[in-house]
């Protein structure tokens, strides 16, 4: 029987180079342009809103500074209250904390999860390009673009929150925030871009592991939240050894990690004294004006305890370390993102069907 044999083509076979990387550029763009457009619209709308709100905030700030120049002027307290009240919902930054994870989850998780869920990976991963190169050629450019967009947006964020960190604030008793405030630290500097990249990388890996779009998005949100809490609660305080001082006048811009009291060189108590101690040394009730949280300002507590030999110690991170911390956090987030993307690519390479 005559079979139709395929003629060998030696010329074709010897030079089996891979398909060039840049071909994936169009592929990534075409498949994810809706997603990227969504991110652009989202950030764009936010940017407009933030700019409008920022102008309000900046003008309130300028007005407050001007009104408080003679610090005891009559208009000053009103202006301060007006400033404090402007855009109060943005003041602690928690709302905007959602932005990196939303971008990362919705842009990152579907990259692989949708292919696996709809079965199109059986097309994409049997083409000549090869599946792990395909994955890499998608994740890296997308990650870079998203990080860049987030970075651009964070310039606006830096501008918005600048009034809270203005050097002249303390003089006019405007709210002095610590740059390490948990809701604000990673909105400024390079933190926003780094966290967006990390969210994207988590999303990509979740997509590959879970193989369904919606569960992967949910898992990404959960993992990111856990990571953010871990970072803010345990990692960040330890980036550099905290400074310790017994000076009672710790600047308001510092990030106070813990406070404790000693007497005669020995540890007495941390935080709030026991009721019996209070009764002994502060018999006239909670002394002095209350500070944030309703607790009496420590300075006032010191007022009754210090004469009896108690020393207050404060462990804190000074505001001047802000940028060092940004680089440290950005650095490990970048490394984590690279690791997660590498893990995703490795998984794709190892197992598919």
């Amino acid at each position: 029987m005559t079979a139709m044999t395929v003629p060998a083509d030696p010329k074709e076979d010897t030079s089996l180079r891979s398909v060039p990387w840049q071909r994936m550029g169009w592929v990534t763009w075409r498949q994810h342009r809706a997603s990227l457009a969504g991110v652009a619209v989202f950030l764009g709308a936010l940017a407009v809103a933030l700019w409008l709100a920022g102008r309000q905030l900046h003008s309130a700030h300028t007005a407050a500074i001007a009104a408080c120049h003679p610090a005891s002027s009559l208009a000053c307290p009103g202006m301060v209250i007006a400033f404090d009240g402007t855009n109060g919902f943005l003041a602690n930054g928690f709302i905007l904390q959602a932005v990196p994870v939303l971008i990362g989850a919705f842009a990152g998780a579907p990259v692989l999860a949708r292919e696996l869920e709809t079965g199109t990976f059986r097309y994409a991963w049997t083409q000549g390009f090869g599946r792990w190169r395909w994955t890499l050629a998608k994740l890296v450019p997308l990650g870079v673009v998203l990080a860049a967009a987030a970075g651009a947006f964070s310039l606006l964020l830096n501008w918005y929150y600048q009034p809270y960190f203005d050097a002249g604030n303390q003089a006019v008793s405007l709210t002095e925030l610590t740059p390490f405030s948990p809701g604000l630290f990673d909105l400024r500097g390079i933190g926003f871009a780094a966290w967006t990249l990390a969210a994207f990388a988590i999303g990509a890996l979740a997509g590959m592991l879970i193989r369904r779009v919606v569960p992967a998005i949910v898992a990404t949100l959960a993992a990111y939240v856990a990571l953010a809490f871990a970072a803010g609660g345990w990692l960040r305080p330890a980036y550099m050894t905290p400074a310790v001082t017994s000076n009672l006048n710790v600047p308001g811009s510092a990030w106070i990690l813990s406070q404790w009291w000693t007497k005669g060189g020995k540890f007495a108590f941390a935080g709030w004294p026991s009721q019996s101690l209070l009764n002994r040394f502060c018999p006239t009730g909670p002394p002095g004006p209350v500070g944030p949280g309703g607790k009496p300002k420590a300075v006032s507590l010191a007022g009754c305890l210090t004469p009896h030999g108690y020393t207050q110690w404060t462990s804190y991170q000074p505001a001047s370390r802000f940028w060092s911390f940004q680089w440290i956090e950005g650095g490990w987030l970048l490394a984590l993102s690279a690791l997660l993307i590498a893990a995703t690519v490795w998984l794709v390479r190892r197992r598919a069907a």
Binding site: L16, R30, R122, Q127, F129, A353
Partner: protein, 306 residues
């Protein structure tokens, strides 16, 4: 000079605790339409996924197109796999699917693809998800063939198609073979069309290869013997019986034979058709006829065929 488009050696794949495919050894020659046949769950898709590089073996190995490791760049270059349900990006128009495939492969015949889609009446601007089932299958096939592969691997391509679409699809596949020398390994559980289409058969049952060989050889090496039921048992001892059917007085024995011996006295010998042969083997999961050394793992006799 002919090469093997798929060579498997003790190939196995396990999912969790179950072996979807086991002890699979094959050598499928080029220039044929090889039909991979078996009931649902027999391991057909698993085998094709392994050959296409979509899955990695748990045991043994598989190479394609004369020794290229499955899943390697060289293998992906020469194999066009069309998965079940012909996956396409539903929101992309046909034109963008062409563009996509062109970018993802070294070779792509854009002109051929456009002409073919034009002949089939598939509009380039329409989203793939809005095409009919038959059109989607034809689009997926066009993308595959435009890559100028050496081997086309459609996985149950016609399962979801109506008869006309099914005929057109198979006609396209076979025309590609005729015109460009593409080898085909397809999976099917529709036995009736096999005789027309396949010239190499691989029978899979419960994850194991029961039968593999050129159709002509297989048909020539099997015979249906019809005779008295009372004598059936004594011949079952001497002959290599694949499958027996008995009535009260009459019995049919499907035997495997390497020679042209005449039927035993009182018995008639008939040639067997492909569908009948395949069905008989599928009904006897223990029977196997593999080229190469016999592996004694069946209840029935395993005989070495050519």
């Amino acid at each position: 000079m002919s090469m093997n488009v798929i060579e498997a050696d003790g190939l196995g794949k396990r999912y969790g605790g179950t072996w979807a495919l086991r002890d699979c050894s094959l050598a499928v020659p080029a220039g044929h339409v090889a039909a991979l046949v078996g009931p649902n769950g027999a391991g057909k898709t698993t085998l094709l996924n392994l050959a296409a590089g979509l899955a990695a073996p748990s045991a043994g190995g598989v190479t394609v197109l004369d020794g290229r490791p499955a899943g390697s760049v060289a293998a992906l270059d020469g194999i066009a796999f069309v998965a079940q349900d012909t996956p396409l990006y539903k929101n992309l128009p046909a034109r963008d699917m062409l563009h996509l495939t062109r970018n993802l492969n070294r070779r792509f015949d854009q002109q051929y693809a456009e002409i073919r889609l034009g002949e089939l009446g598939i509009p380039l601007k329409r989203k793939a998800g809005k095409l009919s089932g038959g059109q989607q299958a034809q689009l997926a096939l066009t993308l595959a063939l435009a890559r100028r592969p050496r081997l086309l691997v459609p996985d149950e391509p016609v399962a979801m198609l109506d008869p006309v679409a099914r005929h057109d699809f198979m006609a396209s596949v076979l025309t590609a073979m005729a015109a460009d020398g593409v080898s085909v390994v397809l999976s099917s559980h529709v036995l009736a069309e096999l005789e027309r289409v396949a010239d190499y058969l691989i029978l899979l049952s419960r994850g194991r290869v029961q039968l593999a060989g050129e159709v002509d050889d297989l048909l020539a090496s099997h015979r249906m013997l019809t005779g008295p039921a009372a004598e059936a048992d004594q011949y079952a001892e001497r002959l290599s019986v694949v499958h027996a059917r008995r009535g009260q007085a009459q019995a049919h024995l499907l035997v495997r034979t390497t020679s042209d011996d005449p039927a035993p006295p009182g018995w008639e010998a008939h040639p067997v058709g492909l569908e009948e042969l395949a069905l008989a083997y599928l009904r006897e999961p223990g029977a196997a006829a593999l080229p190469g050394p016999a592996r004694g793992r069946n209840n029935q006799q395993t005989e070495v065929t050519k």
